[in-house]
């Protein structure tokens, strides 16, 4: 029996505003518990929310970037439920009239085709605090620092058909919100969280199957594994004559399984109603234009441009535009290097990415700046150093030894292009290896590499490889001759 998987994702992106969505308290992560919660965040009697305009701006920016309709009038509603880390006993969210509706995101499939995933809506809401269950011997601690942090909840259509597609969509979305600079994208700190609605149906069945919701999966890898596990579970259940129960499930990464949290039947009735403390949010055409003017070049457009302008392969363009920061870095290197687009791509994707991965640093922390890398490429191009030596220079730059020219100078790495000097070395090597010379002359042409290596070694790697090759061939004469 052929089964089809149907997935819809709800992503909570934490908007990177400086202050909270309805109060002036700071949103910075990692402060001492309850030091960034003001009277409004605590839900003290008598306090009132005031909407942070920056959060609206960011939501609008997102709406424009995914080709969505930005509602000229959207409404905040209260979602009522009791929980100790929800100070007011309700969350201010948007319900009937969200700020963003009907957008889309195009994702690339493995077969090279593109698929359009619908975005049903994106709405603004406040985050809750955190309950801390350890360290309080039988009690729970409440940290309200996060309470009131602005979130944009982005809800996709059930257009995704596999865990891989889901991950592709998530990665695309992740990259987009960071491009837009509306979210720091930090998944460990919970700035980008995902709930997955998963169901299966027989291929060709027009009706959706009963879905389960997997809560709060906080890495791309776990999303893929959680969905795959859940799909397997549902198929097994259905094939053995069982029924899927609509419920919320939690993914346990340690056991690699999902398990039931609560059935939908016992779920809360949230009693949504428009929040009488807040006026409807009105987005004027002028505001929309103002935000549109701040939109950066989006990933798809950038990728296309990289292929056209720099002659990069789709793969290289993909990698280099995966984040705005990396793309900016790359373009900077291209400029500094005198428009060596392809070598710049190789170095950024090779040496630089390798070094970053190895050291666990983020691009922004790289000791090698784009200027430095660009200069290095220039020195390769103008023959000052060889590509091989350049790797040593890169390592030295990485270790904080300074600008490429200074390193080349200090270490005396300048390529030897003085024919006389190379010739002397070649003569030395030929004289020292009569056996190999005889074999070469006897037809073993492969031995040329041996002589190149020996001369290189004698030069400390500084001999110009092209000159060296030419000189050796001349001195040794034709192989087999």
């Amino acid at each position: 029996m052929e089964w089809e998987t149907v997935i819809g994702l709800e992503v909570h992106t934490q908007l990177s505003t400086r202050s909270k969505i309805f109060s002036g308290a700071s949103t910075a992560y990692g402060a001492e518990p309850n030091t960034q919660a003001c009277a409004i965040d605590l839900g003290l009697p008598g306090v009132l929310p005031v909407l942070n305009e920056e959060a609206v701006r960011m939501a609008v920016k997102f709406g424009l970037a995914v080709g969505a309709e930005v509602a000229p009038r959207s409404v905040f509603a209260r979602k009522n439920y009791f929980y100790p880390d929800l100070p007011k006993g309700y969350q201010i969210s948007q319900y009937e009239l969200p700020i963003v509706a009907r957008g889309y995101l195009d994702i690339d499939l493995e077969d090279g085709s593109t698929k359009r995933i619908g975005i049903t809506r994106a709405h603004l809401e406040e985050d809750a605090g955190k309950s801390l269950h350890e360290d309080f011997a039988g009690m729970s601690g409440i940290d309200l620092n996060r309470a009131g942090t602005p979130l944009l909840e982005i809800v996709s259509e059930p257009d995704l058909r596999s865990a891989k597609e889901a991950v592709a969509y998530l990665k695309k979305l992740h990259s987009l919100v960071m491009y837009l600079e509306i979210c720091d994208g930090n998944m460990q700190e919970g700035s980008f969280r995902c709930d997955a609605n998963v169901s299966v149906r027989r291929k060709g069945d027009p009706k959706f199957g009963t879905r389960t919701e997997i809560k709060n999966v906080n890495s791309f890898r776990f999303v893929e594994r959680a969905i795959n596990y859940e799909v397997e579970r549902q198929i097994e259940l259905l094939e053995s004559g069982g029924k899927v129960v609509q419920e919320t499930r939690l993914y346990d990464a340690n056991k690699d399984e999902t398990r039931s949290m609560r059935a939908k039947e016992e779920a809360n009735d949230y009693r949504y109603f428009p929040d009488p403390d807040l006026l409807p949010v009105e987005v004027t055409a002028a505001f929309l234009d103002q935000v549109r003017a701040t939109l950066p070049e989006l990933p798809d457009a950038k990728r296309k441009r990289f292929m056209e302008e720099y002659g990069l392969s789709q793969y290289d363009a993909d990698v280099l535009t995966s984040s705005r920061e990396l793309a900016d870095y790359y373009e900077h290197v291209v400029q500094e290097s005198g428009r060596q687009a392809k070598p710049a791509a190789n170095w950024v994707m090779g040496e630089l990415t390798g070094a970053l991965n190895k050291s666990g640093l983020a691009l922004s922390q790289s000791p090698v700046t784009p200027q430095m890398l660009g200069q290095l490429l220039k020195r390769i191009q103008d023959g000052t150093i060889s590509g091989k030596i350049a790797k040593d220079v890169f390592e030295a730059m990485w270790n904080g030894e300074g600008e490429p020219d200074a390193i080349i100078e200090q270490r005396g790495l300048k390529q030897v292009t003085d024919i006389g000097a190379i010739e002397a070395l070649v003569d030395q090597v030929i004289a020292a290896n009569p056996g190999q010379v005889a074999e070469y002359k006897g037809g073993k042409e492969k031995l040329l590499g041996f002589f190149v290596g020996q001369v290189m070694k004698a030069s400390g790697g500084k001999a110009n490889p092209a000159q060296l090759n030419e000189l050796l061939r001349k001195k040794l004469g034709p192989a087999g001759g």
């Binding site: 009277a39 605590l42 839900g43 003290l44 009697p45 008598g46 306090v47 009132l48 929310p49 005031v50 909407l51 209260r78 009522n80 009791f82 100790p84 100070p87 007011k88 006993g89 309700y90 729970s140 409440i142 009735d269 009693r271 949504y272 109603f273 009488p276 403390d277 807040l278 006026l279």
Partner: protein, 484 residues
Amino acid sequence: MHDKTIAELAAALKAGEFSAVELTESLLARIEARNGELNALITVTPEQALAAAKAADAARAKGEAGPLAGIPIAHKDIFCTEGVRTSCGSKMLDNFIAPYDATVVTRMKEAGLVMLGKTNMDEFAMGSSNETSYYGPARNPWDLERVPGGSSGGSAAAVAARLVPGVTGTDTGGSIRQPAALCGISGLKPTYGRVSRYGMIAYASSLDQGGPMARTAEDLALLLNVMAGFDPKDSTSIDHVVPDYTEQLAASIKGLKIGLPKEYFGEGLDAEVGKVIEAAIDEFRRLGAEVKEVSLPNSKLSVPAYYVIAPAEASSNLSRYDGVRFGYRCDSPRDLEDLYKRSRGEGFGAEVKRRILVGTYALSAGYYDAYYRKAQQVRRLVRDDFIKALNEVDVLLGPTTPDVAFRLGEKGDDPVQMYLSDVYTIALNLAGLPGMSIPAGFAKGLPVGLQLIGRDFDEARLLNVAHKFQQATDWHAACPKGFE
């Protein structure tokens, strides 16, 4: 000194007849002596009051005193006052010392007014008799066996008994106007959004509005001058120019068009109260006003619509009282659910629980459209009625309440009877319009209130109309026996 109005006190302070400290001491002594029988104030703050009075005197000595510096005031215990218990009349907040001042309180402080204490009220402003207060009912100075009205009952009783010349109140369905009427004083509910709600503990956010209560319209104008204005901390406050409300007080009302909503004069209106209102209308005719009948056809729907919307908002507003962060917490809860259930079960009184239950029901899945959405549609119709009537006339006039103050306990068992005592006041909150109640005479030996209703932001006209009436009559000057 206690028998003087705010305007008279301000003049006396300015003239140096007595100091703010002397005035404060005198009223504190009177409160000490007389509050026991009234239970009008539930917190008295002598130390802060004397410090504020001293500061007012010092400012006056330096020539820096504003017009109301040194004037004593009391705040309804729904306004947060930094460092002072703010109970909202509830056991739930009996232990709550507010860490900040409400905007209204801040404005009063900045204007140099001297807070003497906090006034009694129905629990979370839910009630029309002050009987739902955790601290016991305030009593009506005109008859201590009768209610002062509610929910701002303590405020009204304090002013009527001359314990304090002016107070703040809040009005969600009549909670300023009804107690003002029953205690024979003047009270103004401003246009929704005119006075900041920041720091005013919410009952029903879309209806709540703070306002002044005092003996005369002139005093209300002086207090409103301080209270009114846009507040960036309250998104529903409106950035609309604030006039000097005393400026137009004495203007002639010759040619003023007064509308009498016929629905306010029909069945249910006590005959004696009706006669008092008729006499007041004659007075307005003598002052040159033109009187005509108008209609508010949907007014009978106001009470049911109100008792869906207000409890719905309340059920959500009061969710924060969960025993977790502040306020009442039950003893040794077994688990989270027990903490919630017992803290709320023990901390809230019966009327508050009733409204939370009603409101929760009205917002529930499957009932929302039939109740909450429908009530909002009715609300629109109610407002449209007023707007239409106020296109024909300048102000509307009628009785504030169907009857005079009732006896303590008289309506205790029948919430619907209690709700109907607000039948003439509730619609105004649904419409968001300004209204006021002023003393118009006596029926059965008890004060009768006359209600005036105006267009959006037309408080100055209402005050002018009320002031002209008070210049022509002396009902507002009548003092309950024993409190002269």
